[in-house]
Structures are given as C-alpha cells and as structure tokens.
Amino acid sequence: MPPKIAVRSLSKVFQPAHGAAVEALRGIDLEIGEGEFVSLIGASGCGKTTLLRIMGGFEQASEGYVEIASCAGPRDLVTSTVFQEESVFPWLDVEANVEYGLRIRGMTRERRRKIVDHFIDKVGLSAFKHAYPAQLSGGMRQRVSVARAFANGPEVLLMDEPFGALDEQTRIVLQQEVLRLWSEHRCTVVFVTHSLDEAITLSDRIIVLSARPGQVRADIPVEIPRPREVSSLRAHPLYAGLYQRLWSLIEADIERSRPMVAA
C-alpha cells in the first residue's frame, strides 16, 4: 500500500522581484503513513511552513512534488488547514464559520447542522454558537478554526503552528482537545510547530528539518503510548531523553541564526 503522503525530492526556491533568491527547501524526501500524526520542527525560517503550504496546494514546488493517496469523492476535501494566523471570518458567527467549508460544497442544511453542532460542542463553544469572532478571545477563535478544519472531514489535516500565538495555558488545553478530537476522528495529521514540547506531546513521529535550506535531518519516533495526558506527559520517562535529543539536533541552527552583532 502506498504511503498516505509521499514527498519526492522536493525543493523550493523563492525568487523575490528584487534581491537574491532564497532557497527554502532542498531535496526533501518523506513518507507519512495513513492515520499518522507527524510533526515538522526546525529552527525558524527552515521552510517547515513552506513544506506544509505545498502539501495544502497553496504553493508550487520548484522541483519535485507531493503525492497524496486519496480515496476522497469529488465533493470531499483531501486536505484541510488550520492556519497560525487568525483565520476565522469576522463577518460570520461561530456556527457559520465552522460550517463554511460544508456550505461551499453544497451540503444540505440539516446534514451540515448535525456535523457543525457536534464539533462546536467538542471544542466547548456551544454557548457561543451565535457569537461573532470579535466577541471571542484569541483562544476561542483558534478553537473555531480547529472545529472548522475537523468539520471539513479531510483525509489529511494540515496544522501550521496553530497554537503559536496563544498563551501557554490556553495552548495546553487546546493540545488536549486536538488529541481527543483526533482519537475520535482519525485522519493523517501534519503538524508544524517550533515547540519541542508540543511536538513530543502530540506526535507519533517528529521530522527535524535543518536550517535554511531545509533538509530532513532526523526522523524520530515518539513511543509514548496513547491516550496521552498533556499536563502530565512531561513526567513520562521517555520525555526528557526525547527533548534532549531534539534540542541537540536543532541547537546549532538556532545559534547560527542569531543576529550578528557588529559584523
């Protein structure tokens, strides 16, 4: 059986209108299995978001390609993305935001409502169904984005540092929610993060990218059993070793990307 996602010798060079070209990714080869939860980590600017955006169909590669083995019908979504930036529509209330993707695909109102109610309930926003985003906190708005992505029912869920802009307490709660949702609605997840802790907490496997141009430096399995409890995971015997190993893999890159003083 082919892997769910195969990345084949993928490279990406950005050519700005003025200035030098930036090589973001070089020769990425990667396979992700059906139902796997995989994190991409690396120093900032290593191209992990670019890789995710190519998987989502938002950007073209300069060389190579991404192949997704899909059994989706013509009306189903192969991928759905949760963005780092706030991406809820300010002119729609919570319910309409969550059902947006379903409405676009012409699903009937009754079927839509059942799905939407379920996911709004799962992210704990039932009391805010008819609130507009401006009335919600940043964490609640990101919950809406997560609910929208799950409601789309994709085969592959792409998450681009979805909790990067949130405070730590909110982040822990949302990580727990994602784990619970994912355990009930299994799909393949590619999760970009800069947080080592987040990668360990959520993933089956962690792909470490090198600094720019991003190349696959390591592919590390996380053998902490599920179901996992986010708040107590750090006490697990495997946690500290994994954390050390990941840090040693990206430490040099982070040192290197520090701004030069009086060059």
Partner: protein
C-alpha cells in the same frame, strides 16, 4: 465625557503656593478619583450648547438683516425665508421638486453604486481583469464628471437620462475604486481559507470578497452620496425644468431668492437624512460590527 486635563484631582488644601510652602514638612493630602459631579454637569451644558448653536447663528443673521447690515435682496432674514417656505410647501411646488430630485438621485445613485460594487469586486479578485480595466479607470477618474454633460446629451438625448447617467458615472468611480481597495486589503490567510475549502470564483465573490469589503463599500456609499448631490444639483441647473436644482437656478435669475434658500435648506436636509439612511443600512448589513466591545 471626562475632561482629560482634570480627572478629579484636588488638594485638600487648595491654598496659594505661598501657603503650602509655609507649611513645608506637613504632608499635603492629594485626593484622587472622587466623583465631584462636575463632569456630568459640563457634559449636559455642552449638549445644550450644541442644540441651540444653530439658533444663535440664525438669530445673528436675523438681527443683521433687521438693522440693515445685510442686503435683504440677497440675504433675506430667516423669518422671510420661513414665509417663502410656507408658501412653496402649501402650493405643493417644493414637494414636487423634491420628488423629481429624489427620483433622479435614486436611479442614478443606485445604478452607479450597484455597478461600482460588482465591477469593483470583480476587479479586486481578478488580476487579469484588473490589468485590463484599471488603467482606464485611473485615466478617466480625474475628469470632472459635469464636463461630460454636453456629450451625454448628444449620446442619450435631452431630459432625465443625461442627468441620471452623469450621476451614475460619478458614483461608480468612487464606489468601484473603494471596493477594489476593500478586496485588496483582505488578509491573505482569509483568501487561503477560501482556497482551502475549494471555493469557486463565484463563491469567492459572494462569500468572501463581498462581506469582507462591506466596510469599504459603505464608506464609499457615504462619500459618493455627497458627490451625487453636487452632480445632481449642478446638472439640474442646466438640464432640468423641474427639481430643486432648477428652482435654485430660476429663482436666482428672477431675483426671488426666497425659494432658492428654501431649496438649499431642503437639499441639505435631504442629504443629511440620506447619509443617516446609508449608515443605518450599513449597520443592518454588518451586524458583526455592532457587537464590538
């Protein structure tokens, strides 16, 4: 409203500085945050002042005309204008003129606004269409629209049509240009969500570009409303036998300035209420903006 320069701070002893210096060593008690009731009083007084301010202006005018400082042939006192208002209201001519003016406004403004929104959204979304059409808009925008009136008479004939078309053209530019700006200011991630959900061009148009640009569109509708009255009254000066603009022009030429002033005031009142109506419609169509804070 709170006076930003005085947030309710006072010394317990407000004596002259010399006094306080004399008592050096003894701490002065500063009391802060106490509600003295002064601000409420100030706010209420200013509200009343705002209300009677126009009356003060009219009173001054009346007085100056009465003592002969103002030439009553051109600047009749407000009481005279009031009399002429009563007569044009009673003989129905003001009502008929307002109806004619408003009908032209509704048709011309409506056509200009609708086409401006549709073309503007399309231009904002399609880079191809923008590359083709935007230069035309930029080149022709600075033309004073009234200058087109003679040409329009040639093309569509005399009567109502050239006035309505002229209005529509003037409104179109303002609305289209603002709508394009509205679409172009949509954050990239919002567009990405549409692509993520595989929205078609038409779906982008209706479910993303239109609602996201509504704030820009309504700003444009309000601005172009003022412009519409300018163009409309100007066009009625030369091209209409009825309407408020026609009354202003003919009564000036007849040295009977009473109806002129009445029409000017009527235009300003109509303009004021049209702006209010536009804002009300905006609030109605953008419920998410009402719920801030």
């Amino acid at each position: 409203m709170t006076d930003p320069l005085n947030a309710g701070e006072r010394n317990s002893e407000d004596g002259p500085i010399a006094d306080r210096v004399a008592k050096a060593g003894v701490p002065t008690l500063l009391r802060r945050g106490e509600n003295t009731g002064q601000h409420q009083w100030t706010a209420r007084a200013q509200w009343w002042l705002r209300l009677i301010s126009p009356l003060l202006l009219l009173g001054t005018w009346e007085l100056l005309a009465y003592v002969g400082e103002l030439d009553a042939r051109f600047f009749p006192p407000p009481s005279e204008i009031g009399k002429s208002a009563v007569s044009v209201i009673q003989d129905g001519s003001l009502w008929r003129a307002s109806q004619d003016t408003l009908r032209r406004l509704a048709l011309g403004y409506g056509a200009g606004a609708l086409s401006g929104v549709i073309i503007g959204l399309w231009l904002g979304l399609s880079t191809w269409f923008r590359a083709l059409i935007e230069p035309w808009i930029q080149i022709t925008y600075p033309i004073p629209k009234l200058a087109l009136y003679p040409l329009l008479v040639l093309v569509v004939g005399l009567g109502e049509m050239p006035i309505i078309v002229l209005l529509a053209i003037g409104v179109f530019y303002v609305v289209a240009i603002n709508t394009i700006a509205g679409v172009l200011s949509i954050r990239r991630v919002i567009i990405d969500v549409g692509r993520d959900c595989r929205a078609s061009f038409m779906q982008f148009f209706l479910t993303i570009a239109l609602p996201a640009s509504l704030p820009h569109i309504f700003t444009a509708l309000e601005i172009s409303l003022g412009l519409a009255y300018i163009i409309l009254i100007g066009a009625e000066f030369v091209g209409a036998k009825s309407g408020l603009g026609a009354i202003i022009w003919s009564s000036w030429q007849l040295f009977d300035v009473g109806p002129m002033y009445v029409s000017i005031v009527t235009v300003s009142v109509l303009g004021y209420f049209s702006v209010l109506a536009t804002r009300w419609l905006g609030d109605f169509l953008m419920p998410w903006r009402r719920t801030h804070g």
